[in-house]
């Protein structure tokens, strides 16, 4: 073994021993992802299920029953009948129901005349997101019922536009299925950038870096000895997260594991590069942690499109998201998990990740010096 290799091996062995003995590193790599996945997988849901809904039918008959019956069958609603619109509105104000579907007394007549059948829909708008979802679901039920009636009578539906929302890629519209893959990008940012920045700052704080610097070890060896173990640790955390997503949450994995692993490796390098760059800016663990969270973790959370849709952001913010490595990885993850190996999504995003990894690692290497000033 050449002396350089032996130095690298020695440093890496030290790093692994520290990882194994210091519970905080393992906690950040494995426990934190598990907790985040559980919280987002079980706790946060952007779906509306069993929404309490008030049905007000002013003159019930067979036709209205066939319509309201659709709500009872839907998994999204838990309907209850109200005699009057006033009673339903009181229930809405008391937050006993989240929406009202109101069939006025001329409903049956208008439907049978085939001219402009209407339903009234009132939704609790406090939570705009849920409100929009409820609105969409009600429309789906309405459109479905109209289509069913048309088929029963053997005529084409007279709707100008087919309002059926076709949910492609995620037919059950489970938000978990796209939150969990996106979360993997956030988790890997954490292990990559935060952990690397922290462990290098720790070496400065404990004075071990100064001792390392005055050996024959080169800066490149010090950086590599940090990169390789934390790369492996991060990929381990990634693998654990993917297993949890597929086995525990039943998220489909439609693309190839190999593509996933390759893109994850690129993203991991970019995250590690950010961590190394941060560690060249500050030698204090507290500051390194703060900078890593503000500069990498929060943007990955907010600007990657993992929860918040990038297309609905203001244009300058949209431009900003191009600087966030997690953005590209979230696109890849959502595609690989939910749609499969879509070349037109994966190739450009993977290239962007490769460029970012090269830039961050290059900057970190250029800034690292074997001197204290």
């Amino acid at each position: 073994m050449s002396p350089a290799l032996r130095r690298l091996a020695g440093l890496m062995r030290k790093e692994f021993l520290q990882i194994v003995r210091d519970p905080s590193a393992l906690a950040i790599a494995f426990v934190l992802p598990a907790v985040l996945l559980l919280v987002f997988g079980y706790g946060v849901s952007l779906d509306a299920r069993e929404v309490p809904l008030a049905l007000v039918v002013q003159s019930p008959d067979a036709l209205t029953d066939s319509f309201t019956g659709r709500f009872a069958q839907s998994p999204y609603f838990r309907p209850s009948s109200f005699r009057s619109i006033q009673g339903a509105q009181r229930a809405l104000a008391a937050r006993q129901v989240q929406g009202i579907v109101w069939l006025q007394s001329d409903f049956t007549r208008r439907v049978e005349r085939g001219a402009g059948a209407r339903i009234g829909v009132i939704v609790d708008g406090v939570d705009a997101n849920t409100a929009r979802i409820i609105e969409g679901y009600v429309q789906q039920v309405w459109a479905g019922w109209l289509r069913m009636r048309a088929e029963e009578r053997g005529e084409a539906p007279r709707m100008v536009l087919d309002p059926e929302a076709r949910m492609r890629f995620n037919p059950q519209v489970r938000s978990r299925d796209y939150l969990v893959p996106g979360l993997i990008a956030v988790i890997m940012t954490l292990t990559g950038a935060l952990l690397t920045a922290l462990v290098i700052a720790r070496e400065w704080e404990r004075g071990t870096m100064e001792a390392l610097m005055v050996t024959r070890v080169t800066v490149r060896e010090i950086l590599l000895a940090k990169l390789i173990p934390y790369f492996l640790l991060g990929m381990g955390g990634m693998a654990a997260s993917v297993l949890m997503a597929v086995l525990l949450f039943g998220v489909p994995l439609r693309g190839s594991v190999l593509v996933l692993a390759g893109c994850a490796a690129l993203f991991m390098l970019a995250a590690l590069g950010m961590g190394l760059l941060i560690s060249s800016l500050t030698r204090n663990q507290f500051a390194a942690g703060q900078v890593a969270i503000v500069a990498t973790f929060l943007p990955a959370f907010i600007l990657s499109g993992f929860v918040f849709d990038i297309r609905s952001m203001p244009v300058p913010i949209q431009a900003l998201t191009h600087l966030i490595a997690a953005r590209y990885f979230v696109s890849i993850l959502q595609s690989v998990f939910l749609a499969g190996n879509i070349r037109s999504v994966i190739v450009p995003n993977a290239l962007a990740l490769a460029v970012m990894a090269a830039v961050f690692l290059g900057l970190a290497a250029a800034r690292a010096r074997k001197r204290l000033d």
């Binding site: 002396p3 032996r6 130095r7 091996a9 020695g10 440093l11 062995r13 030290k14 021993l17 520290q18 003995r21 210091d22 070496e203 404990r206 004075g207 071990t208 870096m209 100064e210 001792a211 390392l212 610097m213 005055v214 050996t215 024959r216 070890v217 080169t218 074997k370 001197r371 204290l372 000033d373």
Partner: protein, 610 residues
């Protein structure tokens, strides 16, 4: 302090003699090295033009108080910093140009040596063996050698973080010696290390010097260690005050050092001598006052009308004497002037300080035991401290000093036994007792980002001073400690001596009856240390009880009584003179405090791995 290093080999005398043509090659060559640091808009000159040479096969002592520029110089030689100007050559390489060539041949132990605390002793050795390119087949014998030398053999499987301070330093040293370096830089390896481990570190270095011709640069703030070196660079405020063999330094002081004894009390005598013309230094040492006279001081300087029975006994000069003499001059005048102003106010009380023995105890510790799980940190310890006494608590690392100290502050309850401070039982009235205590540590618990005035304000508010009383104390602190010109400066940017005065002022804002000092003057330059102890003496003279914990034995000399602890138990108690007398042997008629301390510890048959 006997010069032990030079007894063990003859090389140094040859080097000091500088026989032409036969001189060992220079390992370090410094030519007008300058380096400044920018701090808060102004440049602090850490090194102001250092020119010196260090030779192979010699221990060169880089000696100076904290802030002298020692660490900066070490880092410059190691290639970790670049000089602003000047040239540094190490082992024949220009350090600025070829740092890697130097680093490949260098052993460097920074102040906090880079041990990985969650790796075992063995794993730390393996890591540094890899980094220094020690071939696997050469490791086993090398490890065995080093473990034998450091006495760490039984602990190879222990985590480095669980070693004592002294053992950590020895392991750090062992790690730098894995591949025997041609140049060994040791930055304050003995700071914060107890005297027993300190002696062992020196034994390792002496052993190394016998076997190799390594050049060692050893920095220290303990001036007594200078006498163990072959050559000394005396550094102060970025300037090289002198360089040469330690004997050269003491030679110029020959015949100028005396022990003074007279009736009337040593503190009064010391205060009087310190302001006598022709005396450049007067410090309390045990029962007498150690005096250094100015060169060519007239004999009548030794006559004091108010101390007619004054007896001066000549004694050997110390390294510190020449440091004080070199620094002396104007600065000493200022200290003496301050001392004069001060003793006027404190004069009547000074004498009573020595009589305080009659007063009742202010601190009582009765059969106190403190356990942490299975571990007994303090084991049945009893002692009393009387009003106006300066009482020292001595012990190696892990002896139980800190635990005792925390119990006295009411921060930790004893498992058994009783503690009383200022008449209050700490179990029932810890908060009230704490209000009577002032505390100052070597680390100066000051807020570096606050100004002097803000620090004083803060500490006085913490001690619940308000209104006119608070203003009066603030004014008192400014005047008493001469902080006036610095009131608006940030505490973190003060020179060390000012910092120390400010820390003491903060501890005294609430006029406490008891003052706790934790290694208050370790690393401080000798003049600042003298000034500090002059103030402490004056406080004790006015009836303030002072409790000092330290393993810096210089400080022990200032105490009225000492308690030596090891492994939680009391080994010895008495006046400094009595403790030294107990260590007297035919081959050691006049033991130093350090020798006495080590003897007490060894007599108790305590294994060194405490």
């Amino acid at each position: 302090m006997e010069p032990t290093a030079r007894e063990t080999d003859g090389r140094s005398s040859a080097a000091a003699g500088g026989e032409p043509g036969d001189a060992p090659p220079a390992a370090i060559r410094l030519e007008d090295v300058r380096r400044g640091f920018r701090s808060a808009g102004r440049t602090v000159q850490a090194l102001a033009g250092i020119t010196a040479n260090a030779l192979r096969g010699q221990v060169t002592g880089l000696v100076g108080p904290d802030g002298a520029g020692k660490t900066t110089l070490m880092r410059l030689i190691a290639g970790l910093l670049r000089p602003d100007s000047g040239r540094i050559e190490a082992l024949g390489f220009d350090v600025a140009r070829d740092p890697l060539d130097v680093q490949a041949r260098l052993g460097y132990m920074p102040q906090r040596f880079g041990l990985y605390e969650d790796l075992t002793v063995r794993e730390n050795l393996d890591l540094y063996a890899d980094l220094q390119g020690v071939m696997p087949e050469r490791r086993a014998p090398r490890y065995a050698d080093l473990m034998h030398m450091t006495g760490l053999g039984p602990f190879t499987a222990r985590m480095a973080g669980r070693l004592s301070g002294g053992m950590k330093q020895k392991l750090g040293l062992a790690c730098t010696l894995l591949n025997p370096p041609q140049l060994l830089l040791l930055d304050e390896p003995t700071v914060g290390v107890d005297p027993v481990s300190r002696r062992e570190l020196w034994q390792i270095i002496e052993h190394l010097m016998r076997e190799t011709d390594t050049a060692v640069l050893f920095s220290t703030a303990y001036l007594d260690e200078a006498e163990r070196c072959d050559q000394v660079w005396l550094l102060h405020e970025g300037q090289l005050l002198g360089s040469g063999a330690p004997s050269d330094f003491s030679a110029e002081m020959a015949g100028r050092s005396f022990y003074a004894v007279a009736t009337g009390g040593r503190r009064a005598l010391q205060a009087r001598l310190a302001q006598t013309a022709g005396v450049i230094d007067a410090v309390i040492q045990g029962g007498h006052v150690r005096v250094v006279m100015a060169a060519g001081a007239p004999p009548e300087a030794k006559m004091l009308p108010d101390f007619p029975d004054l007896v001066l006994t000549p004694t050997a000069p110390r390294f510190e004497d020449s440091f004080v003499a070199r620094l002396g001059g104007g600065r000493h005048e200022a200290v003496a002037a301050g001392s004069r102003a001060h003793s006027e106010a404190g004069a009547p009380a000074l004498a009573s300080g020595d009589r305080a023995a009659a007063a009742g105890p202010v601190i009582t510790v009765r059969q106190v035991t403190r356990r942490f799980g299975d571990f007994t940190a303090v084991d049945n310890v009893s002692f009393e401290v009387r009003r106006g006494e300066i009482f020292g608590l001595l012990g190696a690392n892990g002896a139980g000093k800190t635990t005792t100290f925390r119990m006295l502050c009411g921060l930790l309850p004893p498992t058994q036994g009783a503690l009383e401070v200022a008449g209050f039982d700490l179990r029932t009235a810890a908060a009230i007792a704490r209000r009577r205590i002032g505390y100052m540590s070597q680390r100066f618990s000051l807020y570096g980002d606050l100004t002097v005035r803000q620090n004083l304000n803060f500490f006085s508010s913490v001690y619940r001073l308000t209104g006119a009383h608070q203003r009066a104390r603030l004014a008192w602190a400014g005047e008493e400690f001469a902080l006036g010109p610095m009131l608006e400066a940030k505490a973190g940017e003060l020179p060390l001596g000012f910092k120390q005065r400010l820390a003491l002022a903060c501890a005294l804002m609430h006029d406490p009856a008891i003052l706790f000092l934790d290694e208050p003057t370790s690393g401080v330059d000798p003049l600042a240390r003298r000034e500090f102890w002059r103030r402490i003496n004056a406080l004790a003279g006015r009836g303030v009880t002072v409790l000092v914990t330290t393993h810096f034995l210089e400080e022990a000399e200032y105490c009225d009584r000492l308690l030596i602890m090891a492994q939680g138990r009391v080994l010895n108690e008495g006046t400094p003179d009595a403790i030294k007398a107990a260590a007297r042997r035919p081959d050691r008629p006049d033991p130093t405090m350090e020798e006495a301390f080590i003897a007490a510890i060894e007599a108790a048959a305590v294994p060194e791995a405490a």
